[in-house]
Amino acid sequence: MSLIFYQPMESGVGKRLRNILESVVPKDHIELYSTMDDLFERFQNPICHGKVTVIFAATRKDFHRILPLKDFLSDMNLVLILPDDSPEMMAEAHTLRPRYITWADSDFRDIEAVLKRLMALSKNCF
């Protein structure tokens, strides 16, 4: 059972996040995407509805780039990592119906706890 992880740019925070993901899911079960084209292509292939998908948007620009994938993302068990919590951003984030939202300045221990549960809940996903 794998997890989709979108991280547009490798950074210190991104690396820390990736370490957290790898502590929950074996490394070779993490499908890593760093461009929107690659992520979009992934959604064109067979995908299990309810698959755990982690989107790390380090900047507002990163975040706005994922919004066109709303129809795909709202079918997933989505975890969002956002750059800030402005009301506008939160309103747009909620249109994706995420299962959990946290922010880039988090220590990501919350993500670890949430992912453990979500992965267990989506165990029947192909």
Binding site: Q44, D85, D110, A113
Partner: protein, 467 residues
């Protein structure tokens, strides 16, 4: 003219009630047995059914849901001389309009009838609203129509709603539909996944916190309750909400005020609550795992979603819709569904409901590759094996094996099952390798089995890989 059916074995009572109904200007039909009543109700549209509980050929309460599910979805008023609290509760939970203990004067029975007819008139006005958005929810069966009526009713008010149903029945889509058709549609629809959150995380996520409220609280954050202000707060899997949080959430639900963690003052949030669960909350109340007062608050309006096996007449429509959606998303021509494919999906029980069906279609579309039509063999092997097992289990073994029995040793049921499984598995692998052009990586991805296991199976069945 409204039509009323009276199912009661007391002929004198039936005649008196029907005269009163006709006097009010409605049409009345009497049935003196449950069988006759069901025959009338199934063949003629009625607006209201008066249903006695103790009838010579059965218990009226047992048929309440069936009557509610007939095409005209009549309102049912239960009549009984053997009224019990349990019976009343069951009747109301099963969707009865009212419950009248006998003996009551005939005139007492007219008031609920008139109210039911007024409600029905209003409801029909609402459900015929052509603009109701029910995105992603497919089905025209009586069971689904009943759910749409409740969505319309919920959307027109601000009452708390609880949506219950098995996993994969679409509880979140229904919650979203209520929000999108409500006056709050322009505001946030905030999902709280209670199953994904631990107790401490639930508290901070729901209520929000001030900087320094706990280790790791480096900034002030609004909680989801605040983010749902003027919008809808959707508590998914509310049965997983820890008891300690249930207590504090009940207060929020009553007062729409709460104190974020580490905050000095309380803040307001005018949210509308929709909760969903796949658990039996009544049972959880009995076992002390869910607060009765919270359940009471939540239950202003209940929508019980049917399992997919309870509305099989919608399976084909759901499959056509999602196949087109998947093909479109994948940049493929929309695939047709062959009769054997349709037969298979209608026969299967879908324990994972609509979500399982959609995931099976995802895999079938992938397995079919360039084929313009989906065939039974494109379905995931796990489903085909279940179907094969069901066929073996449903038919007498002598019918299945009578030809073979003459020419070879008679198989045990276990042997037959194993050989059927092997046959289906081999057929699947041959198709898989053919469709992927022998690409092992792609085959592993589609079949969701490891490379080692795939090689093992290829060897077992003596399949040649040609690329």
């Amino acid at each position: 003219m409204a039509r009323v059916l009276i199912i009661d074995d007391n002929k004198q009572f039936c005649n008196l009630l029907s005269q009163m109904v006709q006097k009010e200007g409605y049409e009345a039909v009497c049935a003196y047995t449950l069988t006759d009543g069901l025959r009338y109700a199934s063949s003629t549209p009625f607006d209201v059914v008066f249903l006695d509980v103790i009838l010579p050929d059965g218990n009226g309460l047992d048929k309440l849901t069936e009557i509610r599910n007939y095409a005209s979805s009549p309102e049912v008023i239960i009549l009984t001389g053997a009224g019990t609290v349990d019976g009343a509760e069951m009747a109301i939970k099963s969707g009865a309009w009212d419950y009248i203990p006998k003996p009551s004067s005939i005139s007492v029975m007219m008031l609920p009838l008139i109210r039911a007819l007024q409600y029905r008139e209003e409801k029909l006005k609402k459900t015929h609203h052509p603009d109701m958005k029910i995105e992603g929810i497919i089905g025209n069966s009586a069971k689904m129509k009943r759910c749409y009526e409740l969505v319309a009713e919920a959307a027109s008010t601000d009452v708390n709603v609880i949506i219950s149903g098995e996993t994969g029945t679409g509880k979140e889509l229904f919650a979203k539909a209520i929000h999108e058709n409500s006056r709050r549609a322009a505001k946030n629809f905030v999902v709280v996944d209670c199953a994904a959150l631990q107790e401490t995380l639930t508290e901070s996520t729901l209520f929000g916190y001030e900087k320094g409220a706990f280790t790791g609280a480096v900034h002030h954050r609004d909680g989801l309750i605040k983010q749902g202000d003027s919008g809808t707060l959707f508590l998914d899997e509310i049965g997983e909400l820890p008891l300690s949080i249930q207590k504090s959430f009940l207060r929020v639900l009553q007062e729409h005020r709460f104190r974020p963690l580490g905050a000095a003052k309380e803040i307001d949030s005018n949210f509308r609550l929709i909760a969903a669960t796949n658990r039996d909350l009544d049972r959880m109340v009995q076992t002390g795992h869910f607060r009765e007062d919270l359940l009471f608050r939540l239950r202003s309006l209940t929508i019980q979603l049917p399992t997919l096996r309870e509305h099989p007449e919608d399976i084909v429509e759901i499959a056509i819709y999602h196949t087109a959606k998947i093909c479109k998303r994948s940049g493929l021509e929309v695939k047709q569904l062959s009769p054997d494919f349709l037969d298979a999906i209608v026969s299967y029980r879908w324990p994972g409901n609509v979500r399982e069906l959609v995931n099976a279609l995802e895999r079938a579309v992938a397995a079919a590759l360039s084929s313009p039509t989906l065939f039974r063999r494109h379905l995931p092997s796990s489903i085909r094996v279940q179907l094969a097992k069901a066929v073996v289990g449903d038919q007498p073994s002598w019918e299945k094996t009578s030809v073979d029995a003459e020419s070879k040793k008679f198989q045990t049921l276990k042997e037959l099952r194993e050989s059927t499984y092997d046959k289906v598995e081999k057929e699947y692998l041959i198709d898989l390798m053919k469709n992927t052009g022998g690409n092992i990586l792609q085959a592993c991805k589609i079949s969701d089995i490891s490379r080692a296991r795939l090689y093992q199976l290829i060897k077992k069945h003596g399949i040649t890989i040609s690329g």
